[in-house]
Every structure is written in C-alpha cells, then in structure tokens.
Subunit: 477 residues, 4 copies
C-alpha cells in the first residue's frame, strides 16, 4: 500500500524485513536503553537507617509477592518511532526511568520524620488534594506524626510559624480550591531557607510549585548535598499550563480544560445570539498553548485557536481577518480562543512598557485579549462600516484556576503524592514523581527543572490535530 | 541501596552492568519488536482507487513535511518492565502498532463514499460526540457527502430507514447524552445485515458498541472479506466499564468516574449525618471494577471498594463486617462502593434464578446492592441490637451513563472519530482505533474483540493503589 | 368582555362599581383583618431583662430611623381573591402576621444566653446553612458566645454531650450537604428532654425538623410554659417535600427541584435513545407532590406527573396506559415522574405488609417506583408482544437531599436563621419564622404544626398549571 | 412588650384595639382597594371574534368548575404595612391586579392567529425558554399554527425574514443559553415596524426585552391603537439586573445569582490562598445592585457589597479602606462584590469621557472594576509599603448571562409565557404578565415601563439585610 520504509541507520533502529514486499517490515530492534539514575541520600550520607516498610502493619492487609517495587522496575520513555527517521528516541538516546511505588526497605524511621510541605506561585486545581494525600499517606501508611505546612511559599520557611497538619484537619481539603496553607511568589533566599530547615529539624521536604519553584528546589537540593544533610527533598511540579516536560501532564490541567468549557460555551452563546457576533476567550498559557489547544479540541465550537507556539497575523491572504470574514459570512458568528502568550510581538508597546522588565528580566507581559478585541473592532469598522458587529471578550482565568480538582485530577494528585512519599521514605532525593507514558516514575529534579513542554507545531501530531479545527495555519506562502 | 537485579534470561531483556556495584545497572536491551499487521482492502480487492489526500484543499492550509503519517510510524505497546522477571512484554513478545492519522494517499473516492454509522448496546457518555465527529470529519476533511445513521442498533440495518446526517444537523450533538440515532441490544442477523449493507450501497461502516457488538463486527468483517466487497469496516469500542483491552481506556469512562463522585458524595453526606451511618453506592462494572476503583481513588472518602476481581467475605477475621465495625467505632460512619459484578457468588439464588440464563447463556445477574444492604442490616441487628444504625443505598447507574461527555472525553471521542476516518479512507479495514500508551494507533479488530481489561489484583500497581484506600484485602490467612 | 361579577355577600368583600358597565368594578373593600397573636416570654415570666439591641455596636454602622421593626409592622396573609366567591380569605377570615426582623429592645442579655441547636429527621439541603447562620448571627450581631449543637436529634439532649460552636468552626458549613451535628429520627422523650435543657442551662432552643419534630417542639414549648421557665423556643420547619403550610415554601425545596432535573434529564436521554423507551423517575413527596410538580414544570420534558393529591388509574379510557400508548406512537418515547406517595392504594400488599404499621401507626409505605415499572412491562408484553420496549427507572432520592443548598436556598436559610434569632432575642417563643407572600413573618408554632401544604387539585391554579403539561387528569367520566 | 402603636390617620389604616392593653391591637381595616384596569382590544375594536376556549379539547382532559379565571380574580399588591406609618400602600393607594390564566371565552380564532416573537437587547438566562413555551403553548393549548420568530431584535421586523417556529424545532431550546433567534440593541423605527407588522399580517406580538424595549413596545401599542388594528401586544420584561418594578422579579435573575456564586467562590479562594489577599468581583447592575446584593447574601463569604443605591467612600473614618484594613488584620483576606453601577461618580473621567454620551444621552459608563482594583493597590502601597498584597479581579458578566435558565427560572419562564398567551388570546393588549406577591397577574405595560425596582436603602428590610453582611453603611457622621 505504501512505499518501502528504509530504516535510517542513524536512528539506531534496525528493521527486520519479513520478505521482499517492501511494506512487510515485521520486526525491528531498538538500540540499548539507558536507565536514568536517581539521586539517593546514600550518595553522600553514611549510616542511613534501614527499616522494613511498615505499610503492611494493618491487620486487614497481607503482603504478597509483587506488592513492592524494586530498582529493576522500569518504564520506557521514548515509545513512538518513525522507523524512517533519525529522530527516534531523544536524539537517538533511549531512556528508561525507575517506577514509583513502595519498596520493601525504607531509610527513614517514621518516628524521626519531620516533613515539611510548601506551596509556591499561583493557584492550580489540586494543590489541596496533593497536600491532603501527603498528610494522609505519611500518617496512615508510614506512621509519620510530625507533618507541617510551611505557610505562604518559600518565604514562609524563615518568616512564619509552620502549621502542624494531621488527617482530621485535612480531611475535606480535596474539595476546596486554592491552597489552605497559602502561597506567594518570590521570597527565595537560599541561605535563610536551608538554615531554617535545619533549625526546625525538617528532614523531608515536599515542594509544590512551578518551574521557578523547581529551579529553587534544585538549589536547595544542592545546598543540602553540600552540607551533607540527611534531608530528602522532592518536587511536585504545579503548572496549570502543563508546560513541564517529561511527565505526561501536570496536575490541575484536566480540570482547567474542563472549566474552560464554560467560558467557551458562554462566548459561543454570545456570538450565536448576535448578528456578526464574535466570542473571544483568553486562556492561560504564557509559553505554551496547551490549555487553549485542549480546550478547543474538547469544545467542538471554536473556529480558531491562537497559541504562542504558532505565530499568527491579522491582515492579508491567509490571515485571521480573512478567515473570520469567511466564517461570519458562512455561519454568522465565530469563536476565537487565544492563549495569553500568543501574539506578544504584535501588541504595540508604550515607551514605558518597552523599558519595564518583569522579575526575571523579561519584557513585561501584555494583555492579548483587549488588544485583539480592539483590533477586531477596528478591522470591522473599516471593512464593513455601519454593519452590526459584536465582540464579547471573556477572561476566565481566576474562575478556572481557583476551583477544586475534578475526579481525574484528584486521582492524579493522590497518586502523585503517594509516589512522592514512597520515594522519599526510601531515601531518594532531588527527584520528581510523575507519569511517563501512563506509569508513575521517578525523575531527577534537575532534569525536570530544565525540560519544557510546548506544542510542537512541526510534528504530525499537531498537524493532524490542527486539521480537526480546520483553522488557518498562518503559514504565509 | 537495593540488592542486585540479575536479569532473567527468559525475559529477553539483557542488562548492561555499568560497573561492579550491583545497583548500577545502567543500560539494557530489548528483544526484537514485532509490528502488528493490519487488514487492508488491498488484501483481497484489486484495483483500489488511489487519490491524493484532499485534506489540504483549504485555502488556509499549507501542508508541510511531516503532516502525514506513514507505515513506519509506530507506537510500542509493552513499555513497563521488571528486568528481573520473565513477565516482560506479552509473554516475552514485544509489539508495536501502526499509529493513527492521515496518510498522503487514500483509497476511497470521497464522492463515491456512502458511510454508515451504527450504535449498539447500552448508553455511554460520548456516543453523540463520536458520531458528530465522524460526520464533521468525513464532510469537512474529505468532502464526503453521503453519511447515514443506522437507527436502533444492528437491527436497524435491515428493518429501518437510515437517517441522512450532515454537519448542521449534528452541530450540537456533543452536548447531548445518549445517542440521537437510538440504540438497542441484540438484533444481530449476519446475512440480513450484510445483504442490507450491499443493497444500500454502504462502503464505509463505523460500528460503535461493546464487546458483543465488536464480536458481531468481526463477523461482518469476515463476511465482507468472504464476499470480497470493497467495504471497509471499523469498530469503535464503547464500554463505560472500561473492560476493553489493549487500548488505554474506553470513551465515556472518565465522565462516568466524574459523575460517580456525586453519588459517592451523597452517600458520604448521608453516612456522616447519621449515627453509625453507612453509605453504600453501586457502580457499573459486571466483569471489572474499573469505575468503582477509579471513583474510589478520586473521591478520597470511600472506606471500602468491592470489585469482581477480588473476592470478598463478610464475616470473620479480616472480613467486611469486622472492618466496618472498626471503622464505625473510629469514625462513626463508613462509605462502601461496590461494583455490580462483585459478590455474585455470595448472593443466594432462588430456584428460578438458578435456572434462568441471560441471552449469552450465563446465569442471570443478581443485584448486589440491595442484597448487601440487607446483609449489613442483619449483621448490625445481631451484633448491636437496639443501637442506631442506618444504611443509605444509592444506585446512580442511569444518572451516570446518560450524561454528555466531559471535556476530557469529548476530546478523546473527537480524536477517536478522526483516527477511524483516516484509517478507513486509506483502506484499512477490520480495525479499531484507540490510544496505546497515550498515542492513537490502529489495532486489528479481532485482537480487540478477545482482549479483556480487568484489574490485575496480583500486580503491584493494584497493590500499591490498594494501599491508598487502606481497606481489607480479603486474603484469608 | 366578561359578564358582571356580583360580589358574594358572604365573602365580606364589598365591591364598588364605578358605573353601570358590569365589567367596570373599580374598587372593593376587605373586611377587618385580624392580627395573629404571638406567644411571648412576658406572657408568663415576670421581670424579664430589658436591654437596648446591641446590633449597632459596630463602628461601621450608624442606625437610622426605620432600621428596627415594631409590632405594628405586619404582613397580610390572604391576598388572592375571587370577588365572586365566598372562599376569600381563610373561611372569610383575613389574617395579618408580625413581620420578622430586629427590634430596638431585647429581652435576653447576650452574656447570659446559652443557645442550643438541634436537627431532627431526614436530610434536607440547607440544614448546615441554617446552623451556620444561627451561630454567626448570634455571635456577630448580638455578641452571644455560648452556642451549642445538640448531636443526633432529640435523643441528643439527654444522651450526648453538646458540641460548642463558634463562627470559625462553622465557616464553610453552608457548602456542605447533610448536617454536621448529625440527626436521627425518634428519640423524643419530653421529660428527659426538658430536664436536660434545664440541667444544661439552655435558654434559647432552635429546633430544626419536619412536622413530627414541630409537634414535639410544641410539646416542649408547653412544658416550658408549664414549668414557667425563662426559655425561648423556636421551630425552623425542615421538609424537603415542602409540605408545611402557611409559609411560602420550606428551605431546600428549590435545591431539590434543581437536582431533580438531573434525574429527569437522564430518564429523558435513556427514553429517547431507545425504541419505545420510557424513563421513570420517582421523586420525594409522601403526602404531597410539590417536588414532582415543580420538577415537572421546570424540566419541560416530562409527559406525565403523578402525585398523591390526584388519584390515577392505569387501564381503560383516559388511563395512564392509553396515554402512554398515544405518546409512544407520536414521539417514540415518554418520561414519567411519580411522587413517592402516589398510587399507594393501587399497590398490592402482602399479608405481612397489611399488618405492618410504621412508627405513627399508619400502614407501611410501599415503593411505587418498582411496582409501576413492573406494571408498565406487563402491560406492554400483553398489548405489544415481541415489540421492543424499555423502562429505565431512576430513584435519585439521596442524591437530591444530600447536596448543599443552592444560592436561592442559601439566601433563604440565612434570612430564616436571622429571623429566628431576632425573634428569640426579643422574647418571642413558641413561634416559627418564614416568608408569607414573600415577607418574613413570625407565626405561632402551634399553627404551623397543624397546617398542611398539599397541591389543591380543585384550584384553578393547579388546573392551569396542569394545562402546561398536557397530561391526563384521570377524571373518569 | 412594645409600646402602643397609634394608627396614623393618614394611612387610611384603622386599628381595632381589643382592650386597654396597648399591645393588643387585634384587628384593623384597610381603605378601599382599587382594581387596576387593563387595556383590551374591545376598547377600540368592534366585532371581536368570540369563541369558547379550546384548551379542553384533549381527550385526556375534563374541565371542572374553577378551571377558568374570571375578571373577579384579583391579587393584592400592597400587603406589608406599618400601622403606625402613612407610607402604607402606594401613597395611601391600595391596588389589586387581575390574575393571569385562561378564561372560558377567547377573542382570537386560533386558525387566524399569526403570532410574532421578538427578543431585543442583551442576553438573559431563560430567553429561549420563554420562546419555547410561547410556541408550545400557542400550538398545544390553542391550536395556533402560524408562529414566527423575528430575528435580531426590533430591526428584524422590517429588515429580515421571520423564522417559522413549531414545537419540534424549539423542543430543546430551554436547555440553551442566549437567544436562538438572535438579538440586537437599537433599530427601533416605529413606522417601519408597525408597517411591517401590518404587512406580514401579525396579529399577536410577544416582545421580550428590557426597559428600553418596553418603552418601544408602549409606542407600538399606542400606534396600533391609533391605527385601530386588531393586534394584541404583550411585553415580557427581560432584565437580568431585576430592575423592573411591580413584578416580584424578572426571569433569569435567580440563575444569574446562582452563577455569580462561582465567581465569588473563585475570588474567595484566591483571597484566602494569598497573604493579604483581596478578591474583587464585579457583577451586573447599572442602576441597581440586586444581583450584587442577592449574590452576597447567598454566598456567605463576601465581606463588603457595593451597590449604586448606596454611595460609598474609600478613605477616612468608616470608609472602605479602613474596613478592609481591619478585615485583613482579622482574617488575612477579604472579598468585595461591586455592582457595575456603583461608584460612577468617583471614577475620574478623561476629557474625552466627559464629552462622550451613550445612546440615551447619558454620560458614558465607566468600568468600576479596574478602577477599584487600582485604587486598592495604590492605597496599600501607601499604607503598607513592602508588605505582600494581592488583588484578584473577576468580571464574570458574560459567563453569567449566557447560561441556560436553572430550574427555578425555567418554571418561571414557562408560567410567564403561558400567562402571556392566555392574556393575549382573551384580547388583552398593552400588558405585561408577571408575579405580584407570588401570583401571576396582568399589569398595564405603560405602568411597568416607568416602574423601577431599586434597593431601598432607607427601608428596614435593607437595613436588616445589611446587618447580615456586617459591612460598613458608609454613612459619614
């Protein structure tokens, strides 16, 4: 049916042709797979405690062979191949990660554990579920009794009293949005933080936050290593935008996509109920358009989805205005979803805005929603003066990120928290838990902190998905 | 940290030890991977039409290298290994499947396509979305104009007039529960169906249904092959219970888990508001407890989850009653989730029920919910006569399965439908689309029709998950 | 346009005809209106404390003329007249009630108040909101600090320790279904209860419960009077069925009607998706069909609504089966809503059921849902043997009554609680608060305890409403 | 208990003192009550058709005495009195209105009816339900078959083709937000509209819109009268803000209050999760703060609610900043709800804004939300430089008004539509239907068009309600 596929010798993939028929490649081999190493307290701490895992203390539980995982339990990361391409794996490198889960032997005495949980940065559905499960999991499974919430982000380590947490207190947290222990941006002072950790006697750190927070956690991890402290640190990536790499997705993302439907539906109703009505919805996503893209694919009523990964233009052949003109003529209305990071280069900056930098030294972020609304109105007045036209603009950001996690995310947050606990109790440190191709694994925190997850618009997956929406590709030709 | 992991020679996995340290296994190799072959019309039809894929006809679209998939695009199925075990892969067999998506060349002339869509069996969230997207995808992407809904399941082929469908008609179907074209059980008459297909000139068949429906579709596929008809058939597995194997999950499942939360929350509230209150929720799942299990893990308030895959018992050491007694003493209330297939062997059958068989010849199914409620009351009256006790029983089945798909499932249904269309247009037949480890693939229908997906209670994944709920394992010892 | 309306001399209404034109009645007079008297502690307690209302202590508040209500603030109860009928008013009696709200002078020293709150009977949306607002209102407005929840209904007075409540503790209760302090049926022992009240020093009693509970509260009220105790008692009627008279509606009712939509929608989807599909929903309402009726009028998809106030029959001319036959022929599906109290006389009783009595000595209640489902199936098999037919039966009771109150009910519960507090602080006792024609009033508890609110099927309001549903009236002729 | 209440002779209320005890006023009399006259086609059209009401044609229906209403069925408007005040009634005037519902005799031959429905102005939950029920009611109850939707508001009469509507077409409209026939502002051209009405042969007009629309409808009504056309017109007031007087509330209002909870909850979560966090929500309401007020009372988490009817100030004793300062100190966070019409006088206007007028010649409306957010930030920076502070601002307007009606509003819209139909079929014209004190009545359109419904902040009802929120009254002293 299709032409032969000569395996690319550079890919390391070796095809086994079944017979002369070029399409009958029936088998192939992968190059050797590298196992990603994880940092462990034993790397620099001598005389670690060694105890039998107490999970099975329950009188209702009887351990059986296979309950515990071992270091030989692995999950493969690169699993999609084009046999004809050199791009297989990660530059020809195939990786496997250690699976997450309980081990038969642990390296923390539960009675000696003092665990600290901190949430940093903006809100994300599921924050409270992760915390609830950290508390309940440590308490019920391992018998830990000293569990603390560090209030208000990194600065809370050195400037506030930690909150003692127990299962009763956190019992209904998973039904609440936000973060009960509060959060804030910034406040990262490495020395003060690690000093405070030592002073308070914390020996397990659960750090929940975005990419900036993860980079901070890596610094704490290195400082802890430098001081040779018997303290394990794990990061739980929190980014409603889903811009963290390696793991399948970040918690809260599915809830955000679900909630975004309400805004898109409202925009659709407003557009449909007007003459030449346009509904415009801005969704979260500065560096990546995952929420915008998934919300678009879920809703089935969006005509055009604009994301940071794909430059767009307004005027001329193949531009947004031409597309909208045709859509309005055909349907009488149109719905546009725009990720907040889209079109930043097109929005004119005042002199003041040109000078301003954000905390990271980048140009300040401009609001694409009102700008696009204004451009649409200008265009219509010029092209169709006197004709009815309406743009209704919706920014549902806080109504999306402040809700409790839905069922899918609650389950995810639960397994994330338990993965983290099992990893920490066994002495791993400087790591992140997360699903890789559907299975929970442990990943070096340093690797996650630099990984990015953006929509690859040159990939056929994106292209195919784009065909679902039937929108312009904004590739001038 | 852990002891060395000697690779099991039977597994075909070959470990590469980095040095003498037993934990430093750093690389390993997989045995050759077999590519699963897909049936294609060219297997038995000569002179297939061959056309350039018309997807890129849109003036807003410019194809780029990599848009189309080829037969060399593969996804690996077995990706989780225990290097120390022979169980890796599927009995040592490693498989790869062809990825789903558009191909550059198609084998149906869109102007000659007459597509038929049929829904069989019970309701499932997302049915209407799948149909909507089949219609919209065929129409918009490939320019197909002859698309029909076959009403009321298999019997509709030979006993009712098909409904002509177009994008305008199906525009808001994804927001409706149920199936607009109606469904029914049974009515499978192979000769009548294939005769009707020929007579009506259908050459693309999209069959949406459960395992029985898939087995019927396989029979139709074989009969079409036998008659050497130029008709492509694809199955879209519909099972809210998620009991279809190979693919990651079935559509509607996430919505069902989400909706089940309402019932569990109500049961929890009823239990908490009473003295010695028990909330009992029966969830769908005859052969498997996926919904019960996922709903339990999502809710965080369930004390015990009973599924068909794990026998349970009521009385004695480690039994349900003992567990409930302790739970009530500790918390004053308890919540139980039971899958409909759990405990079938324990429910006493009347003589009549012993004789009755269902349509497939199996013993009739008994209702575990009222039985368990009654047993609980009997137990309490005997053990704690005169003390307050309440059991509130909720059966939310129809309120779960009749809702529209949520965002996650709507997206999934959309990609399922488009996967199916692309596969059919390119001439594949007798196949099923679905995600394998997160990537959409094509799978032989015959393989899916016999695959099962049940909770493996001997797997450490289950064991670990069980530890989250902290419930009895019902393993007498 | 219409014929003249001679005022009925018996009604006490006197029409003033503007001129000779019979339709130009332009004015009329009402007979004298009686003000309903309220019990007050001063009726039997001498030397009540008298204090200025402390509401205005807040530095942000400045009292103005008209803030406080006085005994001359009244609300009229009978406001709908047929000038031609003797039925105006209540048998010719016109009543006005005292309006609820703060008074300038109170008769309880907040520092000496010990308030007790108890919830009895089944769950109802809004229970927790009422309690929350009792606590917050007493605390914030009047400075009361001794507020207690009596656990588990009436029996809690004499058999359990009261729970001390404060605003922080109850802060989020309005977002929770059920009742945090738990409830139970029965346990009413007048002597034990009043002894316990005296012993614990409670001097304000807030009793939340249904009609049985209200009758109990009247007994407590009389015993308190008999003992000449300086204790004020108020009842807050809780009946999700809305079967309490005089007040406009009971709290939680609107939420129940809202939630019932989910069940009706599911039944509709199931019915529509089948061939000759019937969706059958049983809703709460033993003595009255308010929920069934309102849910039907709200949903617009119900074909027939069966309520206890209107006898129905299955077979023969004008019966349910004939109606369904026509509906199925016309639409292919039908939706039926049945109140749990409908058709009790038609359900066959076993000998055992004939003997059994409930706690009040009435015949035990039978489940109309499964019976009707079974009758429908029998009918179809007899009338249309071999034809497809499906009945899907949904009983959403616990999923309706266990949810938190919606916005409308939350507001209502808030004003109910504050009305009760203001009335008690000013020394009223043996009363109930509630809206009469939209305005909150105080009503003697003894009057409410005997009032009933059933659908009057001989009223033109019902008749008109019935015309909306277009269903049979089951009046044989 | 309270001092005697001397009836104010100016009020027309005459008290009957039972005995010498000053509190024992036991009865009183009202002055004569005026019946509000309704316009009727017979006022200026001779030889109206007169037919028996065809409602009872159904074979399942048997009319009974009392089904039909007559002109002697009345509802009293002024029902709350302060016996001590002259303010009773409407300046001493007591009014009664004719009740809505079917009459035994109608004045339109259903076969000759051509009904037109139009929606004008902004969206409001329930618009589609009203239209659905107009279509279904006219069709099913009266047998009308010529029913049209006029697209896109008033301009649709003379510039677009009407859409023919029937029950099948509108079947699921009540589940959709917006208006299926589209709407627009403006376009009112009296001559063109009435000419078009005559030309198209419409003889029943159902006009759904806000106060501007109602004023337009009054003009059409007068022009129809002037031309002596046998055309009945009725207005159905649509204002999500609930700013229409006389009737209890406008449709969609309860849904809006319900939806506003989502925004308030999100604001609350954002505020709670931050250090010194403020959640700010802007809700609809230009001339009145009903939505803001009801949403506040429903939510129980709002600290301050700002409405147009109550001037507020930011700085100084008793101002918003002082209140927030105390609230933040006490709770760490605060939630503010502001109606869009609040604070208009405080927002600085640019020179351009000073000159701009809206379509009605009023100064253009400024956006209070961003202004208030900015003022809050300025205040904090000045008062608490360097301290953490966050304001999250949410504008949920379109997400509130574009949703379908909830159950309460669906029922309301249904009864509104049926009330309108019954009134029109019987020949009333120039009227509005709506509930007065809970009972549906007919009100002259001219009266409704000038009535306003604003929160009366000098009333004790408001004052009492204000006490629930415990917020500043902004009365400088």
């Amino acid at each position: 049916m299709d032409s032969a596929v000569p395996p690319d010798s550079n890919s390391g993939l070796v095809a086994t042709t079944g017979d002369d028929n070029p399409i009958s490649t029936t088998a192939f081999s992968l190059p050797p797979i590298t196992i990603q190493k994880l940092p462990h307290l034993s790397d620099y701490v001598a005389n670690l405690a060694t105890l039998t895992n107490p999970i099975d203390r329950s009188s209702f539980y009887h351990p059986f062979p296979g309950f515990y995982l071992s270091p030989s339990d692995l999950i493969l990361r690169h699993i999609v191949f084009d046999l004809s391409s050199a791009a297989a794996g990660d530059g020809g490198r195939f990786l496997a990660y250690h699976r997450a889960g309980p081990r038969p032997t642990i390296h923390f005495d539960p009675a000696a554990v003092r665990a600290a949980i901190v949430t940093c940065g903006g809100l994300c559905p599921g924050l409270n579920t992760v915390m609830r499960e950290l508390v309940v999991g440590l308490w019920d499974l391992y018998g830990v009794r000293q569990i603390f919430g560090v209030p208000s982000g990194y600065r809370g380590f050195y400037s506030m009293e930690p909150m003692k947490l127990d299962p009763k207190m956190v019992d209904s947290w998973h039904k609440r949005g936000g973060t009960v222990i509060a959060t804030s941006r910034g406040g990262f002072d490495l020395e003060k933080i690690v000093d405070a950790i030592e002073q308070r006697g914390f020996n397990q750190l659960y750090v929940i936050g975005g990419d900036g927070t993860m980079r901070g956690a890596v610094k704490i991890f290195r400082e802890i290593q430098r001081r040779k402290l018997n303290i394990s640190i794990t990061g739980i990536p929190k980014t409603v935008d889903n811009d963290i790499g390696i793991i399948d997705r970040s918690f809260g993302f599915q809830t955000a996509v679900e909630m975004a439907q309400e805004a898109i539906n409202a925009a659709h109703v407003e557009a449909e109920s007007a003459v030449n009505g346009i509904g415009l919805v801005k969704l979260m996503g500065r560096s990546t358009g995952h929420i915008a893209l998934y919300a678009t694919l879920s809703s089935r009523v969006v005509d055009c989805c604009l994301i940071p990964e794909n430059d767009f233009y307004l005027e001329g052949k193949g531009g947004l205005f031409e597309f909208l003109d045709q859509t309005l003529k055909r349907n009488g209305h149109a719905v546009i979803v725009v990720a907040e990071g889209a079109g930043q280069d097109m929005i004119p900056r005042t002199d003041k805005q040109k000078e301003e930098k954000d905390e990271s030294g980048n140009p300040v972020f401009l609001d694409v929603g009102p700008w696009l609304k204004s451009e649409l109105k200008k265009w219509w007045e010029q092209e169709h003066p006197g004709e009815l036209f309406t743009v209704k603009y919706i920014d549902p950001t806080y109504m999306i990120r402040a809700v409790p996690a839905n069922a899918t995310d609650n389950l995810y947050c639960t397994l994330l928290a338990h993965s983290a606990i099992h990893g920490v109790m066994v002495g791993y440190t400087g790591f992140v838990s997360g699903p890789i191709n559907g299975n929970y694994a442990y990943i070096p925190m340093e690797e996650v902190a630099v990984a990015q997850n953006v929509v690859d618009t040159k990939d056929h997956k994106w292209a195919w998905v784009r065909s679902v929406t039937n929108q312009p590709d904004f590739q001038k030709c």
